[in-house]
C-alpha cells in the first residue's frame, strides 16, 4: 500500500461526542469499526476531499446500529431494518449529502434485506457498512441469516440447518457497484477500503466480519478472548484473488475488494428527469 494512514491517538476524539462511552461489550468489533471509520473520514477531511458537515450517518437497530450515535456528524437512529430506506430518502431529497449506513447482518440481510437489494438494484449513492458477527448479538445469540451451517446457537441447539447468505455475492447480483469484505483483523485494509467507499459514487457495500466475544466467541468458536478470535479471523482469511484460483473456500473468510465499477446513480437520473420535465412546462 503506497498511501499513508495517520494513526494519531487524538483523531477519534475530534469526531466523538464529548465524554463518550460506548455500550459495546469489552473487545467488541463495533468499536473498532467506529474508530476505523473516523480515521478514514479524517484522512479525507484533511485532504479536502470530503466535508464532514455534508456527511450523514444512519443506523438501524442492533449493536452496530449504535455506531452513528457516537459521531459528531448528522446522525439518525432509525427503525429496525429501515436504515437503507431512510438513507434512500435523505439522498433523494438532498443529493449533495454523503449518506453512510451502519448496520448488522440482522439489519441489512434479514429484516432489511428487501430494502438492501432494492437500493443496490437502483444503484443509489448510499454506502452500507455491514458489521457481520454471524448471529443476533444484542438479543442473546440467536441464529441469523449469516450463521454458518451446523453452528450451535441459542435457537439452534442441534446445529443450524439453514444455508448462510453471502452478502457480497448478494450485493453483486443485486447491482451494487462497490463491494468489499474484510475482517476486524485487517484494520489498515478496512481504513483504506472505507476511504475508497466514501469517495465512490454509487451503491457501496462493505462487509466487516467482526467478533462478538460474548455470544459468537464463547458459544460458537469456543474462544472468549477477543484477541484469540482476531487471530482466528486472520488465520482463516483468504484473499479474493487466491479464492478465485483455488475454488474451494469452505470455512474460510474471503476478504478483499470484489468490485469497483461506475454506473449512473439513481438520484442523478431522478434529478435529471425532474429538470427535463420542469423545462418542458
Amino acid at each position: 500500500m503506497s498511501e499513508t494512514i495517520s494513526v494519531s491517538s487524538k483523531i477519534p476524539h475530534k469526531y466523538l461526542r464529548r465524554e463518550v462511552k460506548t455500550i459495546f461489550c469489552p473487545g467488541c468489533g463495533d468499536g473498532m469499526v467506529l474508530e476505523h471509520f473516523i480515521r478514514a473520514l479524517d484522512d479525507l477531511a484533511t485532504a479536502g476531499t470530503v466535508n464532514p458537515k455534508k456527511v450523514v450517518v444512519v443506523g438501524g437497530i442492533g449493536c452496530s446500529g449504535w455506531i452513528p450515535t457516537y459521531l459528531k456528524l448528522d446522525a439518525l437512529h432509525t427503525l429496525h431494518g429501515r436504515a437503507v430506506a431512510v438513507a434512500t430518502g435523505i439522498k433523494l431529497a438532498n443529493p449533495d449529502l454523503n449518506v453512510i449506513v451502519f448496520g448488522g447482518d440482522g439489519d441489512n440481510l434479514s429484516i432489511g434485506g428487501n430494502h438492501f437489494i432494492h437500493a443496490a438494484r437502483r444503484n443509489i449513492d448510499v454506502k452500507v457498512v455491514m458489521i457481520n458477527n454471524s448471529l443476533y448479538g444484542m438479543t442473546g445469540g440467536q441464529v441469523s441469516p449469516t450463521t454458518p451451517l451446523k453452528t450451535i446457537t441459542h435457537t439452534t441447539p442441534y446445529g443450524n440447518m439453514e444455508s448462510p447468505f453471502d452478502g457480497c455475492k448478494l450485493a453483486e447480483a443485486a447491482g451494487a457497484t462497490f463491494i468489499a469484505r474484510w475482517t476486524t483483523a485487517h484494520p489498515y485494509q478496512i481504513i483504506s477500503t472505507l476511504k475508497k467507499m466514501i469517495i465512490h459514487k454509487g451503491f457501496s457495500y462493505v462487509e466487516i466480519i467482526s467478533q462478538c466475544p460474548i455470544y459468537f466467541g464463547r458459544y460458537v468458536v469456543g474462544m472468549e478472548n477477543p484477541s484469540e478470535i482476531l487471530n482466528y479471523f486472520a488465520k482463516n482469511s483468504i484473499s479474493v484473488q487466491e479464492a478465485r484460483t483455488k475454488g474451494d473456500v469452505q470455512g474460510k473468510f474471503v476478504v478483499g475488494e470484489f468490485q469497483d465499477i461506475q454506473k449512473p446513480t439513481f438520484e442523478s437520473l431522478v434529478h435529471k428527469e425532474i429538470q427535463e420535465v420542469a423545462s418542458k412546462r
Partner: protein
C-alpha cells in the same frame, strides 16, 4: 552486571475511564510493552499498564486495535 534501563522514547497513556479491559492491546503489541496491571478502571475491569515502556517503538498497533479509544502514544519530551 547491572542492567540499565534506557529512557523510554514514547509514553503509553491508558485512559482508565474508557478502558473496558478486553486485553486486545496486550496480545497485539509486537514488543510486549503492555501487561495487565492491578489497577481497576471505570468499568470495573483490570486495565493494562505500560510495564516495559522502554521497549515501545511507537508503531501504534495498540491504538488502531483498541475498540474503546483508550490508548494514546506520545513522544517522550526528554529525548526530543
Amino acid at each position: 552486571m547491572q542492567v540499565v534501563k534506557s529512557t523510554p522514547r514514547y509514553r503509553v497513556i491508558i485512559d482508565d475511564f474508557l478502558c473496558k479491559g478486553c486485553k486486545i492491546c496486550i496480545d497485539k503489541c509486537p514488543y510486549k510493552v503492555l501487561e495487565l496491571s492491578d489497577k481497576v478502571g471505570d468499568y470495573g475491569a483490570l486495565v493494562p499498564g505500560a510495564v516495559h515502556e522502554e521497549k515501545c517503538t511507537g508503531c501504534k498497533v495498540c491504538v488502531i486495535f483498541c475498540p474503546d479509544f483508550a490508548i494514546a502514544i506520545e513522544k517522550s519530551e526528554e529525548r526530543a
